[in-house]
Subunit: 120 residues, 2 copies
Amino acid sequence: MGNAYNVMAATCPSRTVLHRIGARWTVFIVNALDNRPMRFTQLKAHIRGITSKALTETLRAMEYDGLISRTETPANPPHVEYALTDLGRSLLTPLRAVREWAESHVPDIERARAQADAQR
Amino acid sequence: MGNAYNVMAATCPSRTVLHRIGARWTVFIVNALDNRPMRFTQLKAHIRGITSKALTETLRAMEYDGLISRTETPANPPHVEYALTDLGRSLLTPLRAVREWAESHVPDIERARAQADAQR
DNA sequence: CGGGACGGTATAGATTTTATACCAGTATCT
DNA sequence: AGATACTGGTATAAAATCTATACCGTCCCG
């Protein structure tokens, strides 16, 4: 019982989905919201190096896709919380694995690069 | 015993790694080489919509990072085979999960988008 | 009144991706 | 012999995306 979608097909909707979840900052936001909701400035501080614009745009796209919820509490200073939805939480499993792979294979990659550099 | 790397730090080497494995076409190539080596034109035909340039550059970067091997067999017409290395195969597990998530959650995402569109 | 926190926008420049064409070497067809 | 096709790519320019930097309005605190 495979499903009908195949990312290898240029026009398959799953490719759009893969493109979205593979976007530059999505993996960071999903991992950041892992176990707690976060506010805009918290996210910006936590994901070092992201600009407000990139954060805003990625959050908007993820909200549109139903991966996160945006909750505005009327108060001042303004209080806006972002949290993973159930759908977003289901994405956490694979994306956490990707993050963990990156963090645990740095030495392997550096070794491969050094070896490739030495070869020439 | 966590490791010393953290992708949330702007200058952590793991971020460079994450950036590389999150690059546009890496997930496609890793999944395509899943169970068999493939030649350039096979890959290009299998991953519908990729251009020669994107394929060449992604393959070169992945080879540099030690994720794939490139084997040129002296024959004509030219015969060049790309295959996952052990390191690349270890990346297959998380990236296959990402691909599968994309393929299996298309209806959820489409539903969320339709609902967001309806709301305005 | 001055200054800061919050949740962002605006604008322009840099980088990356895509589209389109083209190439050299060999083999095969006519 | 000449035309054609397949392989594994390059070259070039245009289009899309990402980053850097500055700035905003509202409110509160002192």
